[in-house]
């Protein structure tokens, strides 16, 4: 087990290397000069400003030096300073990260509480009306853009009942109830979108597992259908679903950007969008890096959790 974890961590190395290169190059190797772009955006263009800006960004150094310096700083937790507020990027991200994390976690919980029972139901009652209804619903949820659902939730209750979701952010530890009442609507929308895929996967896996011999054996032993489904089938059927949840982490984070924008939740997504509108490159690459890192860690956690779910998985 320890060897497996160690090997998994070592395998992270190349992925991290490439990922950091992507982050680094995304902002620096694009056609056109970042500094020109910034100067033209910010209405300052004397030669001196140009040089100062280049030096401040470290852009006067050769590319490999820049990269090494950036990675070196990033490893010590220093992601540079915001070009506008001149505050450390790491500090800003750490302020925003818990908020996005809360939204993501809520959405995940909602998604799973919907998706797994409905997926199992759909599989047990294969080809019945209920099965068709839930399946159509899940494909529909895949097609419906979450930003549209969010827009509808903002517009229609206010047109009909003069009610709109609370838009002033309250921290969880300040007032948990007010915080949750603000988070719950975007979390439901995000969760529903995510539950569609999970529901389909749960159904497919359950159908496959329910045809296995050991299920027939369990039934033949006279076990109740409930026990067969929950103890024997679900546990095995859930393994690919867990992988899928890991694979959906990027989707969750991406969707959160849009939800944070609609519902004015000051998380990482909003930070990114603000930085984009101000062309604040240190923040953009900082958020980009942290998001990538989170996805990597989530997937690692998912891989390691197999052992808990499936006794067949021995970490070799």
């Amino acid at each position: 087990m320890r060897a497996y974890i160690l090997r998994r961590l070592l395998a992270l190395g190349p992925t991290l290397l490439f990922a950091s290169l992507i982050v680094f190059l995304a902002v620096r190797l694009i056609p056109g000069d970042v500094i020109d772009l910034m100067l033209s955006q910010n209405d300052i263009s004397t030669g001196q400003d140009r040089e100062r800006l280049a030096a401040a960004l470290g852009l006067d150094q050769p590319m490999p030096t820049q990269y090494l310096r950036w990675v070196g700083h990033a490893l010590t937790g220093d992601l540079g300073r915001s070009l506008w507020q001149n505050t450390p990027v790491t500090e800003q991200i750490l302020d925003r990260l818990p908020i996005s994390f809360e939204l993501g976690l809520l959405a995940l919980v909602i998604a799973l509480t919907f998706a797994i029972p409905i997926g199992v139901y759909s599989a047990i009652r294969q080809d019945t009306v209920g099965d068709y209804l839930t399946r159509s619903f899940s494909i529909l949820m895949l097609a419906m853009p979450s930003f549209w659902l969010g827009t509808l939730v903002m517009v229609f209750p206010s047109v009909w009942w003069r009610w709109s979701p609370p838009l002033e952010y309250v921290a969880f530890f300040e007032n948990p109830l007010a915080n949750l009442s603000q988070m719950i609507v975007p979390a439901i929308i995000l969760g529903l979108a995510m539950s569609a895929v999970t529901m389909r996967m749960t159904r497919t896996m359950m159908l496959e597992v329910l045809r296995q011999d050991y299920i027939r054996t369990a039934r033949a032993k006279g076990l109740s259908e409930w026990l067969v489904v929950t103890r024997h089938a679900l546990r095995n059927g859930l393994i690919p679903v867990v992988t899928l949840v890991g694979l959906q982490a990027p989707l969750l984070i991406g969707g959160a950007v849009i939800m944070e924008q609609i519902f004015v939740i000051p998380g990482m997504g909003l930070l990114l969008l603000e930085a984009v509108s101000q062309r604040d490159y240190p923040i953009i690459s900082g958020v980009f890096l942290v998001v990538g890192l989170s996805v990597l860690l989530i997937n690692l956690a998912v891989d390691l959790s197999y052992g808990l779910l499936d006794p067949n998985v021995r970490y070799r």
């Binding site: 290169l21 992507i22 229609f156 990027p250 924008q261 984009v276």
Partner: protein, 300 residues
Amino acid sequence: MAVADPQVELVGPSRRERGRVADFVVRLFRDKPLGAAGGTVFMLFLIAGALAGLLAPRGINDIDLVNRFHPPSWEFLLGTDRLGRDMLSRILFGARLSVIVGFCAAGLSTVISVVLGGLSGYLGGRFDMAVQRLVDAWMVFPGLVLLIVVISVVGPGLTQIIVVLALLYGVGGSRIIRGSVVSAREHTYIHAAQSLGAGTPFILWRHILPNIMPVIIVLFTTRVGACILSEAGLAFLGLGIPPPAPTWGSMLSGSARTYMYLGPWLALIPGICLTVVVYSINVFGDALRDLLDPRMRGIR
């Protein structure tokens, strides 16, 4: 070898090919009615986009301040917006933009997937290792976040969006292509071709490509829907094709949202169009996959 049977060569393939396509369409309508319906709706949407110039009753930027916020009626079938612009016309031209983005980005992304996945899967070895680690790293970043970051640097615009979407989906999709190439590579006739001295490009083109065609078709179909949705998401965030281009996403975006309280249909129509189009492509893609390549079931 090609002239071994001139008669077959002359009349055979094209007629046989046509017969196969017709057979396939018949099977699609018989076995997968929902998928066939999706395909039909999708075709209608294509035609509407292509003929937007003929079908639109008014110009997309014709401002008519007398008829601002006119609800849907016989005169304005889908109502008008805050400047009195006809929504039906804007929706039709929006369909055209969606078609262009969807097809170009999905097409280009499929090419990228096929080249990258094909080479990686067929050549194997160190090249494969390096490419796959790069793909791993690429897939760590959420699509939308990657799009936002890159568009923020290159600036919004039709070409930029198509290229960035193509890269985003192309690199991710190369995994799927690689998988099918790896399994196709092990077929006996590939070994036979290799031992006859056929070169790598020839084998890839003549033997591997036809073999993985079903996967490619399915990949392309699902990508069209994904690209249309992503473009709409970007436009919603104000990073899409700049105004006054009438994209469905920008009709729902922040600046438009302030006016929706006065004209709720402004919020409904573009969203319904997006949902219907993506829904029909998805069910059509599912049906294609079930008929062409049952192994891909469950891949999205």
